[in-house]
Subunit: 321 residues, 2 copies
């Protein structure tokens, strides 16, 4: 991020008393942790910092200090809106759609490569987590780190790098984590909050899935019938955890879960080892994502969808050689 845009942000803030910080829909630890870290920093500068998110917050951020202050409606008397970790306007959901944000200026703080800068001021850079940008922002505001701010920001980094395991984890991410720990962020506790949240009730589904997983030409895949999903109260996160696990199997170049939603739609979750691009597969099937983690929803009979998806993933594995 340029020093110029950081200065512009400080200038903007000096003209307002009340700001609304907005996290993206279907929120995760990075959008919530980064928003909260900024809120606590702005409060230290004497501002009123309110927080909003269209959707209810997931369990894994329930421990963050001040998280209960998130509301689900758009700006009221706030003079400035700050969108956090939202790659485009629509990622703010109805906070943007219903009446929008009004005439107040919009600042965008985000790390997504695809973000084109839809704000009046854009603090955007390609980092492993928005929380890393937020640490720069907090520093530039001259706010000293405390345990509260540090806990929020470290949660963002841990979430988006999967605990320093994604292939885009940088030395800067480790350096930031070190600073945040030294400022009082409890790394071990955050790891437990973020990574130990699989419910015991999902174990029978995991058991069935692992028993039935099949390896074909480097692709480890499993079909989850509607009845199995329904009986176990599975949601999207169950598939996500499961397919990530399958991808850690040594022989798997890619992992696939085909979850039958029971309404003629098959929910497809894809993961891959570095070098194998499943984003392209998902895109061709109407979905999207990252090269190593992507997904799509395909309408059709499960056996027919399975053939199409597995053929495409096998081709991606073959292309990677």
């Amino acid at each position: 991020m340029s020093q110029t845009s950081l200065h512009e942000f400080a200038d903007l803030l000096s003209g307002v008393q009340r700001v609304l910080i907005v996290s993206h829909v279907d929120p995760d630890g990075d959008t919530i942790g980064s928003a909260l870290g900024l809120a606590w920093a702005l409060r230290k500068r004497g501002l009123v910092a309110n927080l909003a998110c269209q959707d209810s917050l997931p369990d894994e951020v329930g421990f963050l200090p001040g998280v209960e202050a998130f509301r689900s409606d758009g700006p009221a008397d706030e003079q400035l809106v700050i969108a956090v970790d939202a790659s485009d306007l629509r990622r703010m959901g109805r906070l943007y759609a219903e009446g929008g944000l009004g005439p107040r200026p919009l600042v965008v703080i985000d790390h997504h490569e695809t973000n084109r800068g839809y704000g009046d001021l854009n603090l955007i850079a390609d980092t492993p987590a928005t929380a890393l940008l937020m640490l720069e922002v907090v520093d530039s505001l001259g706010v000293p780190l405390d345990a509260t701010i540090a806990t929020c920001l470290l949660t963002g980094i841990i979430t988006d790098t999967q605990g320093f395991r994604t292939s885009n984890t940088t030395p800067q991410a480790l350096a930031a984590a070190q600073r945040l720990m030294e400022a009082g962020a409890p790394l071990a506790q955050i790891n437990q909050w973020v990574f130990s949240r699989r419910a015991a009730a999902t174990l029978p589904l995991w058991g069935a899935a692992l028993t039935n997983a099949a390896l074909t030409e480097g692709v480890l895949w499993v079909e989850l019938p509607f009845e199995l999903l329904r009986r176990n109260g599975a949601d999207g996160k169950t598939s996500s955890g499961l397919v990530t696990f399958l991808n850690t199997v040594r022989e798997a170049q890619a992992a696939v879960i085909l979850a039958d939603q029971g309404d003629g739609i098959i929910d497809v979750s894809l993961r891959s080892k570095p070098g194998v691009d499943v984003a392209a597969v998902a895109l061709a099937l109407g979905g999207g994502g990252h090269p190593q983690a992507a997904g799509c929803q395909v309408a059709g009979e499960i056996s027919e969808v399975r053939q199409r998806v597995l053929a495409a993933v096998r081709a991606a594995v073959a292309r990677a050689g």
Copy 2:
């Protein structure tokens, strides 16, 4: 570690040409990575650095540069022996037992709290990995880091901290990892080597275990019958991975695997959330370990062993309140 002992180590080295670096039995990424990191550093100083370990090396270190040079016998024409990550003499196995190490001086470099300093010179400190000590040693020798040394040492840190997830992970571990990455260690690749090595052949065992896991008063446990283990060619590492996974379940305060070895011996693996001490449980049953990861072997009928073990673990959970 004191500057004095680091100086003494440099003095000792200046009087020899050939050293033997010994890793502990049942080797892991820390003992092998730390030994190799030191070997490459000493070679840069013009010494001949040989490597030995009683046991064959596990898959997950097979990628380390120079790992093929490990031999399984004790010192020959080497003038100095350096034991790495071995908390007592017996951890060198028959390299120590059969004729011992002879009259040559022994240097011990280790991070285990229980190490009483059995060497002529002891470089011991309580750090999350021996590789962190080895980085200090390499620095003190004035050897600049390169990608080879850095890869070996980062593997040690990643292994012993479970990728910065153990509760003893320090800001220093993160700072060291940052330096090692900057010196060329491929973090993402190392993560994949270390954490993506579960064989597809173990999935049916995982499936059966997760299907049958039971939660009782905060203890998530499963029994693995001998026939199931045999049919799936399971080894000790299968139980270790499985019990670590069970312990990440939200409701589990502790996780237990009872693996029937078929010879009247039940192999018990224990894990727990911070605050619950399973080392004490294992110790009382004739085993040992760390507060959050321990184990023991108990002779007896499986149902009787199960009752004893689960009662002891439940009591540990209750004590933690």
